[in-house]
């Protein structure tokens, strides 16, 4: 075990897979010699050279078009879209081409690629560089969607994403790049679609993702100490495939469900979880399902406003303690 930062875990996972499989290549803006604007890919260029680690022009469409072509012709590309907000300019390639190639060719063409992207708020980057778009990705059939909450999961889940035969959108929460935790040494892979019960509890199930997970864990500690509430915190880790069994098992135990997400309220991923719970768990619910989200407005860059909009530990504590 070594203590790694979230950003170091990104490079560690990629290096692990690039050593294992020489079909794995990496491309993006300023990712090679510069090591990425978030310094998440430092050292890869030095180890694997300019053929496998490539800088590209500033064109997201070009990056993803090249990645798709490489995947179709036998490579295992990892593409970086610096800010997930920029998926908006390459959505046609992602949604209409990458996600559908396997289906529309009856399996003759595969697109085994990973698109890594800095996602989410909390870094004062403003409305165009702070969005949490995992719910956009979740809405497209044919894509897998991963969003880790700590360095160990980054390493294990990114390795699994690279090995996956389908296109995976891998969302790195950019305010978490500096956070550290113990990360297993050596080859480490976490299967996609398995949620992590971060805290066990009996009274309320709190389902969270990415940067909301440490906040939910902190809130659970406060709720236990100050309100005597035993919260179970589930870190989804993946939205597609979604580990519904872990959610169902937990809510059958607790009778209460809260989702905490960075998505704007309308059609955030929490709405899908709530919908599943309403259908599958109606007779187990002892209180209305509660969603904690950012409001449905573009995210502010001003620190006080951004902090107000993104779910906070205080908001989670208040909401859960006031539940029916």
């Amino acid at each position: 075990m070594a203590k790694l930062s979230y950003r170091e875990a990104v490079a560690a996972a990629m290096a692990q897979e690039m050593r294992r499989d020489d079909r794995v290549i990496f491309l993006g803006e300023d990712v090679a010699k510069a090591g990425g604007v978030f310094k998440a890919t430092v050292g890869l260029y030095d180890e694997f050279g300019p053929l496998r680690v490539r800088d590209t022009p500033i064109s997201e469409q070009a990056i993803l078009g090249a990645a798709m072509g490489a995947a179709m012709t036998g490579l295992r590309p990892i593409a970086e879209i610096m800010f997930s907000d920029f998926f908006a300019v390459c959505w046609d390639t992602v949604v209409n081409e990458i996600a559908k190639a396997r289906y529309m060719t009856n399996g003759q063409v595969e697109t085994p690629l990973v698109i890594r992207s800095g996602n989410g708020g909390g870094a004062r980057f403003g409305a165009q560089h702070s969005q949490s778009i995992e719910n956009w990705a979740m809405a497209v059939p044919g894509l897998k969607v991963v969003a880790p909450s700590n360095a160990a999961d980054v390493k294990g889940l990114l390795a699994a994403s690279i090995r996956d035969p389908d296109p995976v959108l891998f969302f790195e929460q950019k305010s978490m790049y500096g956070t550290k935790c113990e990360v297993p040494d050596g080859e480490y892979v976490i299967p996609l679609g398995v949620a992590n019960v971060a805290v066990e509890g009996t009274d309320v199930t709190i389902v969270a993702l990415a940067a909301m997970v440490p906040k939910a864990i902190k809130a659970a500690e406060i709720l236990k100490a100050e309100h005597g509430l035993s919260c179970e915190v589930i870190d989804l880790r993946c939205l597609v495939p979604l580990d519904t069994q872990s959610i169902i098992k937990s809510v059958i135990k607790t009778g209460r469900l809260v989702t905490v997400e960075e998505n704007p309220r309308l059609c955030g991923w929490g709405a899908e979880i709530a919908s599943i719970a309403a259908e599958e768990l109606f007779w187990n619910l002892d209180a209305p399902i509660t969603r904690i989200t950012t409001p449905h407005i573009p995210l502010a860059s001003v620190d006080v406003l951004e902090d107000l909009m993104i779910p906070s530990v205080d908001r989670i504590v208040k909401t859960v303690s006031e539940m029916d």
């Binding site: 009778g255 109606f282 007779w283 187990n284 619910l285 002892d286 209180a287 006031e322 539940m323 029916d324």
Partner: protein
């Protein structure tokens, strides 16, 4: 044409089939009574909407049925006969599950298995019976409702520990664990509904003939009384009233009244009128508690508790007593009482009460502590009126006179008002009864 269970009043969702007046094959006239249905609030006669022949009866006496359920099929003269035959059976089959017969061999032997049993077997998720144990006013989560249904619980005695006293899943689980759950459930299941000779009596030592199952009115009364006592801190206050002024008018008008109307002019309409007049000066008596506030009602609608020959209690309402004189109030009370005893009160007759009067006086009671009719905040008991020696003070010295005297006893909700307000109200009622110009009222 299908005869459907009608919507009987805004809040009524189901009823019990009391009695069928017709059988399959009977020819019926338009408006002929077909059956009686008992709801939470009244017994209602359902009549034929058209003339025809009863071709099918799909529910049995004692069945609890939801609004909209098909009760019977009426073959209307002139209606395309083949249409009636081909259309109806499919609808009936879904409502009346014949599966119950095939699923349970013993039921087939009795030929007339009671419908609630069949419903529970075929569709436990939607069976209406368990809902009877769930008070419609309680906010219960799906998890709690499922536990109530699974364990056949009566949770009226469970104290909620959730927000605003809500009964949580944990509360019900604790209730089940405590063992208390099994007892009320037995009491709440009236034995006659599922007579089953093969099941041994749960308490063989006791004489089963002495066990009287609660009927619908008894159950509702029981639940309401417990709820009222749990909801309102009751305070009893009583005042002695001299009925000389009322008696003078009763004596002068009484014989003519009886000759004209066929019944006596009692004290009750006078007291009712006096309470209405006093409420205009003490409006907070005519109110209901809503959370942390008091809703004061503008109309004075006085409920009159009517005994159904010891078989229950109903409270029909005399509406807008502010604008009605004693004579009119007397006639309305009389009409409502007759309807009540014949079990013919309509849901509207019960609606909108703002204060209640309970009249034990005819039995000569001395004082009664009544239970508030929720969500009202006050209830008056009118007890026996009897001639008594009364000290009359005068300048020439005190003398003893013989006067009709009785007690008015009020229970009030101490959340809503305080003792001084209630006392002043009682004093006002007394003043009106003793001094009002009653001759102008009849």
């Amino acid at each position: 044409m299908n005869i459907l269970m009608p919507q009987l009043g805004e809040t009524v969702n189901e009823g019990t089939i009391a009695v069928w007046h017709v059988k399959v094959g009977d020819t019926v006239e338009k408006d002929q009574p077909l059956l009686d249905v008992e709801t939470d609030k009244a017994a209602v006669e359902i009549t034929a909407q058209d003339a025809g022949v009863i071709t099918q009866i799909t529910v049995s006496e004692g069945d609890e049925v939801d609004v909209g359920t098909i009760l019977a099929v009426l073959d209307v003269a002139g209606e395309e006969p083949s249409a009636a035959v081909t259309q109806e059976p499919s609808a009936v089959v879904t409502k009346e599950p014949s599966a119950g017969v095939t699923k349970e061999p013993s039921a087939a032997a009795t030929k007339e298995p009671s419908a609630p049993t069949k419903q529970e077997q075929t569709n436990p998720e939607t069976a209406s019976a368990p809902e009877a144990k769930i008070d419609a006013n309680l906010r219960l989560s799906p998890a709690v409702r499922r536990l109530v249904r699974q364990h056949d619980l009566n949770i009226s005695s469970v104290q909620g520990t959730g927000k605003k006293g809500r009964i949580t899943r944990q509360d019900v689980l604790a209730f089940i664990d405590s063992g208390a759950a099994s007892q009320p459930a037995l009491a709440a299941t009236p034995a006659p509904i599922t007579p089953n000779s093969s099941t041994p009596m749960p308490t063989p030592a006791m004489d089963s003939r002495s066990v009287i199952p609660f009927d619908k009115i008894r159950k509702l009364t029981a639940d309401h009384m417990v709820m009222s006592k749990q909801t309102s801190p009751h305070v009893l206050q009583a005042i002695e009233v001299e009925y000389t002024a009322v008696d003078l008018v009763r004596k002068s008008v009484g014989p003519a009244w009886k000759a004209a109307n066929g019944y006596s002019l009692t004290y009750l309409p006078f007291i009712t009128r006096a309470i209405a007049l006093a409420i205009t000066e003490f409006p907070k008596m005519n109110a209901s508690v809503e959370g942390d506030s008091l809703r004061v009602h503008s109309l004075i609608n006085l409920g009159i508790a009517v005994d159904l020959n010891f078989e229950g209690l109903v409270v029909p309402v005399v509406k807008d007593c502010r604008s009605k004189k004693v004579s009119q109030i007397a006639q309305e009370i009389r009409a409502l009482s007759i309807k009540a005893r014949e079990r013919k009160l309509s849901p509207d007759d019960f609606a909108g009460g703002t204060y209640t009067i309970s009249n034990s006086g005819p039995f000569g009671t001395h004082i009664t502590a009544p239970v508030i009719n929720q969500p009202q905040v006050g209830i008056m008991s009118t007890d026996g009126i009897k001639k008594r020696p009364v000290v009359v003070e005068s300048e020439l010295g005190d003398t003893i006179a013989i006067r009709p005297v009785g007690i008015l006893a009020q229970s009030f909700d101490h959340r809503a008002i305080d003792g001084a307000y209630s006392a002043a109200f009682l004093n006002c009622v007394r003043g009106i009864l003793e001094n009002h110009d009653w001759a102008s009222e009849v």
